[in-house]
Symmetry: C3
């Protein structure tokens, strides 16, 4: 009977479509957060990533990740496209965090290497063919949809990229941190909600199928818990900021919600609702605590990607060990560390070399003028008169 | 055989996802309609509602609404999440209508009470466990997806809120009505279309399943008629305004379409295409007629929510009695009135008490300056120079 | 067994929903490309088209296209709504290309005629009841989802409309072409991505069902190849522009991607991945080459619709003959030409007559002031101070 095959294919196409809504999701979120003069640039980076990372993964990366492996009971192309939809996300995390001062050409080269090799290798040892099987480094990490495999990976690459690129011109001056406000809040909210919805596809689709009663329950539980952790994360960060500043800070509510979503991603099929609330609450708090800490150590990250994706990617992966039965914390820790060392080291070397070839950092003049003019030749809002 | 269970679960997840697109839908619509200085505030309210109302319903409200009831043939978590996706909509209707002058803290308290108690009680007697069963107040209303249960509920709460909060500062002065234009029309259109698409999930999912031929036909008919009424509503209001003013007024076309969508919502599974066109046309006309009437009696409602949701919620519920076989108008009327009395009275008391605790109305100064600065500390478009 | 009927219905509803995301998709893309003073106008046109074209097709066109024909194994209303979702797209292509200088009333009349008669006749001879069957003009064209039936049709009507309406005031002056920059790049990107995602529904749904293993594979392959061609198109145009101007031009990347998507649309179920890449690459190049050519012959088309939809509609239809087995180039050519002659001729006559009744072209004064004020009475961004 082919019904399971058919239903799994339909379900995976649905999940993939939701993930692809994250392309405009990231694009709008980042376009809303950066200054007007860099909006076209971040939008171009986002489109470039979708095109270049997907192509690199399709032509090279997919085989590195899944070559020779038996696939789920669904159409081959549905599975490939679902996996391909993931790859850009890791790089989006990176590109957002080095926004407003990074040049497009070296970012494009980085995208090819991450999409074709670095990300696929992490997938290989986590979800894929597993070339480390039987070795000492054989991972036994539980990470359903990528707290580590996607979010931490993006975060580690970002950390390497920030160390090499440096902060935005004028961000840290005379020992002070200059606050740079988001230029378009509606876009931030729109982008965040598209990401949130896309997460249902990310996590739900990662269950691997829906065509038995058990799988259907697992998918529904996964999506329910994913949403719950997002709610809890937004609640936590919102209350935290309200208590401290008596303000309702939408950007922090959103970052808290995204933090909760990242944190739940490693094990949403394994938690109760209460687990999910706790994991999300902690995720939200971690974001509001981490954002000023990264600023303190001068890691300039305009979209808060290190706090949302790296810190919560680690927290989320650990959480499976704490909350789920039969998952060992030590396995989670090992997974986190192996991935961290491999990705940070390889990304650092790669970005270092790219930077020699074509400097990642835009010149001070280009940063002052905005990257839109120098890099893209297109202003984002040419008719709106600006205050700055 | 588990196939129906699986297909219903997949279908309900799909429908739920569409409904959650209404979160950015409402957010963009309202952010586009209000003035620049209040954009962050309405966006924050919308995110707050999604987080707080969903949590309240999940932790308390769901049991009040459906406790002890047999559920459809699908995964439990898919059903809970589908129902949870509804609750925010009722409150969105309220918050939009008191936009540009309401403080966030009391709105948050109201959201908790509506999400945890008021809305769930209405669901209980309409779609749920029905604690009034066998009493004189036992309802026999046909309301598939909430013309009354969602839209009128939001409208009655809004009416209570407007009466207590009063109009925006400067809206009615020296016997004149000051026209306050929308600040961002693309966002209005985007938001409206996301709501429209979300409606397919709202109404289609409310059929309760898709896993028999009869259900599949009912779902397809429901979505088709829902769309048709939206088309007819937009057509009616568009032609009406064109005939009167020789202008193509996009905001009125949109409000007419939304009015048609609200009106069809009580019985889209029961109508012919011609019924749906008539119901939608009347819905669209009701909006353009009602908007100036509410202004005449000084009920200030920046997004036209009373006209779209309350007036058409009533019309739509009555329409089932007029157009569908085997549905008695008297049952519809009774449902409308019982819900009206309960919701308006309880909401009035609740808002009155909240207002004593923490005033709903922002100070004149805060209204002049815009709520974004005082309440949120974040301007929506800090770099765009303004004309006012 | 009803399972195939149910699954096909669910799948078609899903596909239809994706297509309807193209309504905000086109609206945002066009609102972002035109100047601030014409934004409300193009948004109003887009909403008008959705309402009027859908109604015209539902009440008249559907029967012309499919009357008496046996339908796929799914709910009747799912099939009607899927087909109805197509009709507006052809007209959107037209309206975008004559944007910034066309009046709404004649566009509305044109929409009725195209939606009720012209487009349905093309569907009739391509996918529908086929009244030309057995005649010399009997078409044997392979066009899965409308490279010709939707995109070229929109393009031919546009060509007729441009010839009658003329270029925007001031666009071609003293032998020079005045560059008119897009007013809102985030909206352009958002709109393009919504179109891209909608395309999965367009092409995937056109397979006609998913409820056998063969169909499921065909749907997955179709969506995969559709996406691939979009990626390749964006890549090609992006590289082309980078090599020529050393800039990353987001609007050209987007137009290239859309060109690739149009080009794949005639046969995505028949290609390998490599075929899809080649077809998309050529599609992207065709756009960047065609855009300046149309300007050279003074066909003013603010959104590049002729290059994206007409040129690539033709290329995509030819491509099936080149890449797919058992499809004859001569059949494809015949289809392209019959549709071209019928649509261009009938559209030219219709627009010519409409233009006599109510001139399509806005007055120079209205164009200078912007169509928003004169036609709609609503400015798009009344509070943002403008540079021009």
């Amino acid at each position: 009977m082919d019904t399971p095959y058919i239903i799994n294919t339909l379900f995976t196409i649905f999940a993939t479509t939701l993930i692809i809504f994250m392309v405009p999701g990231f694009a709008m979120l980042e376009a809303g957060i950066v200054r007007t003069k860099n909006v076209t640039s971040v939008l171009t980076v986002n489109m470039m990533i979708y095109v270049v990372a997907s192509m690199s993964f399709m032509l090279i990366g997919f085989n590195i990740a899944f070559g020779g492996m038996a696939l789920p009971d669904m159409s081959y192309y549905a599975f490939v496209m679902f996996q391909m939809a993931f790859v850009g996300k890791a790089i989006n995390i990176t590109s957002g965090g080095v926004g407003e001062r990074s040049r497009l050409l070296p970012l494009t080269i980085l995208t090819i290497i991450v999409g074709a090799i670095i990300y696929p290798l992490v997938v290989n040892i986590s979800w894929g063919s597993d070339f480390l099987k039987g070795t000492l480094l054989d991972l036994n990490m539980t990470d359903l949809a990528g707290s580590t495999v996607v979010h931490s990976v993006g975060g580690w690459i970002l950390l390497a990229a920030i160390l090499i690129t440096g902060p935005r011109k004028g961000r840290y001056q005379n020992g002070k941190i200059r606050v740079i406000p988001a230029s378009n809040i509606p876009l931030v909210v729109l982008g965040a909600m598209l990401l949130w919805i896309g997460w249902f596809g990310f996590n739900g689709g990662s269950v691997g199928g829906i065509a038995t009663k058990e799988l259907a329950n697992s998918v529904a539980l996964t999506i329910f818990n994913t949403n719950t952790a997002g709610l809890a994360g937004g609640l936590a960060s919102g209350i935290f900021i309200y208590i401290r500043y008596h303000l309702f800070d939408i950007t922090m509510i959103i970052n808290g919600a995204l933090g909760g979503l990242v944190a739940i991603t490693a094990g949403p099929h394994l938690y109760t609702s209460i687990d999910s609330i706790i994991i999300g609450l902690i995720g939200g708090i971690l974001v509001v605590v981490a954002v000023p800490l990264f600023d303190k150590i001068r890691l300039d990250d305009p979209v808060g990607a290190l706090s949302v994706h790296l810190v919560n990617g680690i927290w989320g992966t650990m959480a499976v060990g704490l909350f789920a039965k039969d998952v060992l914390i030590i396995d989670q820790l090992k997974g986190i560390m192996v991935v961290a060392v491999f990705v940070f080291a390889s990304a650092f070397v790669v970005i270092y070399l790219i930077n020699k070839l074509s400097p990642l950092r835009a010149s001070d003049d280009d940063q002052m003028q905005g990257l839109d003019v120098g890099e893209c030749g297109v202003e984002a809002y040419p008719e709106f008169r600006r205050t700055i």
